[in-house]
């Protein structure tokens, strides 16, 4: 126990030291700042994967309180309470493994939160040398605070689907915002073809993917993955029996109606069916966007790389999405499906940013055609 206490203090010290260290390393150097943003983006993506792992292993209530675990900093210190809860309900929400998964997610999130705090402070102290407004990084900090609150409510409101879905969506917004802050640190943007349909198609794709991620989050947080047990038909029909009203009642607790009765299976079928049906529309628009990107690629080769990336991600999502149904929800595949969604959102956000003129707008110093 003493060794553990010491390790805790060391970790705390490292966390406190991280801020001045980041400051000393970056010190107004725009290139290093940009690299720190990308490191944070990468870690945020990993954190989203770990969050999906936490949700899909039912570990969200592994520690039933917040911010500590039974008031302790880690599951070892709370071992007696966890063992007691495990004995009372062996298949219940609290086990030692689940408690560790939940607490690791919280530690990891604290680390990313500290990094984003550092990014905000550095954006303010280096604002003159970077030639960039510090407000996006400040908004990012506010966003991560709200995200922390939703993480807490995920626990205190006992996995209420709306809270968990918003927690997931905010994580993806955070990821995209980090990517954009990184992208606007660059001086130059690749030359752009001037065909107005391309930016519009990219914007449409981003909106549809955002909606699809919200619908998908709703499937996962309502545990509706297996409500349709076959593909492409759902329970043997193209249009199965469904109940939409209760399916999209946003304020109800997990698995129940507002009055406390159990949610009917038809509502779960509706939740599942809407996500898989909307996928066809998203897929169509993505195919169109890829085609447009490919066609303009003769003038700007980077567009072809974007087309390939998007097509690859779309295929990944279709493949993992179908696997979730026909192979009864394998954990790794479900986590990848969540990660693919986050990656798709990030790629589309960056594409939209570059098509809209990108860093040229963000930078006051760079001449308009520096990259041409």
């Amino acid at each position: 126990m003493h060794a553990l206490g010491l390790a805790q203090l060391l970790l705390l010290g490292a966390a406190v030291a991280a801020l001045p260290l980041a400051w000393a390393w970056v010190r107004g150097d725009a290139d290093k700042y940009r690299r720190l943003v990308w490191v944070t983006t990468f870690l945020t993506f990993d954190l989203i994967l770990f969050g999906a792992f936490t949700r899909l292993t039912d570990s969200g209530l592994g520690c039933p309180d917040w911010p500590g675990c039974y008031g302790h900093s880690n599951p070892v210190a709370a071992l007696d309470q966890i063992r007691a809860a495990e004995r009372a309900l062996p298949d219940g929400p609290v086990t030692l493994v689940k408690a560790w998964i939940e607490m690791l997610h919280r530690y990891f999130a604290m680390g990313v939160g500290a990094l984003i705090t550092a990014l905000m402070i550095l954006a303010w102290t280096g604002r003159r040398r970077f030639g960039r407004s510090p407000w996006p990084a400040t908004a990012l900090f506010a966003l991560v605070c709200v995200q922390g609150a939703f993480g807490a409510w995920t626990v205190t409101l006992k996995l209420m689907p709306l809270v968990v879905t918003v927690h997931l969506l905010l994580a993806i917004v955070l990821l995209c915002a980090l990517g954009l802050i990184g992208a606007r640190m660059r001086e130059a943007t690749p030359a752009l073809p001037r065909r107005p349909v391309l930016p519009r198609a990219a914007a449409l794709a981003l909106i549809l993917v955002a909606v699809q991620i919200a619908l998908g989050g709703w499937v996962s947080t309502n545990y509706a993955v297996l409500a349709c047990q076959d593909f492409p038909l759902c329970n043997g029909a193209w249009i199965p029996e469904m109940e939409f009203g209760r399916a999209y009642d946003l304020t109800r607790p997990l698995g129940r109606n507002d009055d406390g009765s159990l949610l009917p299976v038809q509502a779960l079928v509706a939740i599942h069916w809407v996500h898989r049906t909307f996928a066809w529309i998203v897929l169509g628009v993505l195919a169109w966007l890829c085609l447009l990107l490919w066609r303009d690629g003769d003038r700007a080769p980077w567009l072809r790389r974007q087309a390939l990336t998007l097509a690859g991600l779309a295929l990944l999502q279709v493949g993992t999405g179908i696997s979730n149904v026909v192979f009864a929800w394998p954990l790794a595949v479900a986590v990848i499906h969540n990660g693919g969604a986050a990656a798709m959102a990030l790629v589309l956000a960056l594409l939209n940013f570059r098509l809209a003129g990108g860093a040229r707008r963000a930078s006051r110093a760079a001449p308009a055609d520096a990259a041409a």
């Binding site: 705390l12 917040w66 911010p67 500590g68 008031g71 900093s73 807490a152 409510w153 626990v155």
Partner: protein, 302 residues
């Protein structure tokens, strides 16, 4: 010149902007920020979402209303000062009647939110703060005495207690300490600004300390208040509301503030006064951040 909603010189967007400016959005945000921190400090776990959203919105609306009333009362003074000359009422772009109606609407909506979704105590405290700022401070204290911002600072210091009451349903000793910290912080913060804006205040006719008692006297008072503030900021540790992390941060921040005040006392320059004012903003933000981080660390390490 007649200003109407259809006047091309006053498009609806500009109109909305004028009303928003009336609420002094930046200062309002700072007050709301302090209230939200008061909410988080009032519970070891997480604030209920309904209380957080309705409490924040209610306090925001009432604070905005109070500032609108303040703008309304001070429009003639504002017009004489370079810093505030651009405010819409001072420029005569916005009539008094719509401004008053707007302020009343904000206050009514804020009160209703607090009463229905938070609790009656929070509503009454916030309304009392509203009157303390909009009338006692603006009408009575500000034009009368150089101690105006010292006494009137109480209404500016109230937000953490409002947030605390919203969550806990009462105002505990801890909440009173938070108020005390902002209360003691206000004079050195404000006087640093008044020092380098002294000509402005002289023109406005308001009896600010550098105008009535001179620069030297104000510099001394800033220094004395920073010492007092550092002592007060240790109290959360003394009553065991906060732990070591907070104590170390508060002492370091206090030393920085005293350092700024000392340099300002030794030799006056506008740049030093500006630096002191800028530091005071960071000081408060960092002190409350330390309270919050310490609060959650205690929740985990208990």
């Amino acid at each position: 010149m007649q200003a109407s909603a259809t006047d091309p010189a006053h498009p609806p967007a500009a109109r909305v902007r004028q009303f928003i400016d009336l609420t002094k959005p930046r200062v309002t945000m700072l007050a709301v920020f302090c209230a939200v921190i008061g909410m988080f400090l009032a519970t070891p776990g997480m604030v209920e979402p309904v209380v957080l959203v309705a409490g924040t919105a209610g306090i925001w609306l009432l604070a905005g209303g109070a500032f609108a009333v303040n703008c309304l009362i001070e429009q003639r003074i504002d017009a004489r000062m370079a810093r505030t000359r651009a405010r819409p009422l001072a420029r005569g772009e916005l009539g008094s009647t719509p401004a008053l109606a707007f302020a009343i609407a904000l206050a009514a909506a804020g009160s209703a939110l607090l009463y229905v979704w938070v609790n009656a105590l929070t509503m009454w405290l916030t309304i009392a703060t509203f009157f303390g700022y909009a009338f006692i401070y603006t009408v009575v204290l500000k034009p009368t005495t150089p101690q105006n911002i010292v006494i009137g600072g109480l209404s500016g210091a109230m937000p953490p207690a409002l947030g605390w009451a919203a969550v806990a349903g009462e105002v505990g000793a801890e909440a009173v300490l938070l108020v005390l910290i902002i209360f003691v912080w206000t004079p050195p913060h404000f006087w640093a600004l008044a020092l380098y804006r002294v000509e402005d205040y002289r023109k406005s006719g308001l009896p600010m300390l550098p105008v009535t008692h001179g620069r030297r006297f104000t510099q001394l008072h800033i220094l004395l208040y920073t010492v007092l503030l550092t002592a007060v900021s240790v109290l959360p540790f003394v009553i065991r509301m906060s732990g070591w992390l907070y104590l170390v941060t508060a002492l370091a921040l206090g030393a920085g503030f005293i350092g700024h005040a000392w340099r300002l006392y030794r030799e006056y320059s506008d740049a030093r006064a500006r630096a002191t004012f800028g530091y005071s903003l960071w000081y408060l933000a960092a002190l409350f951040a330390a309270l919050l981080v310490d609060h959650y660390l205690q929740g985990m390490l208990a």
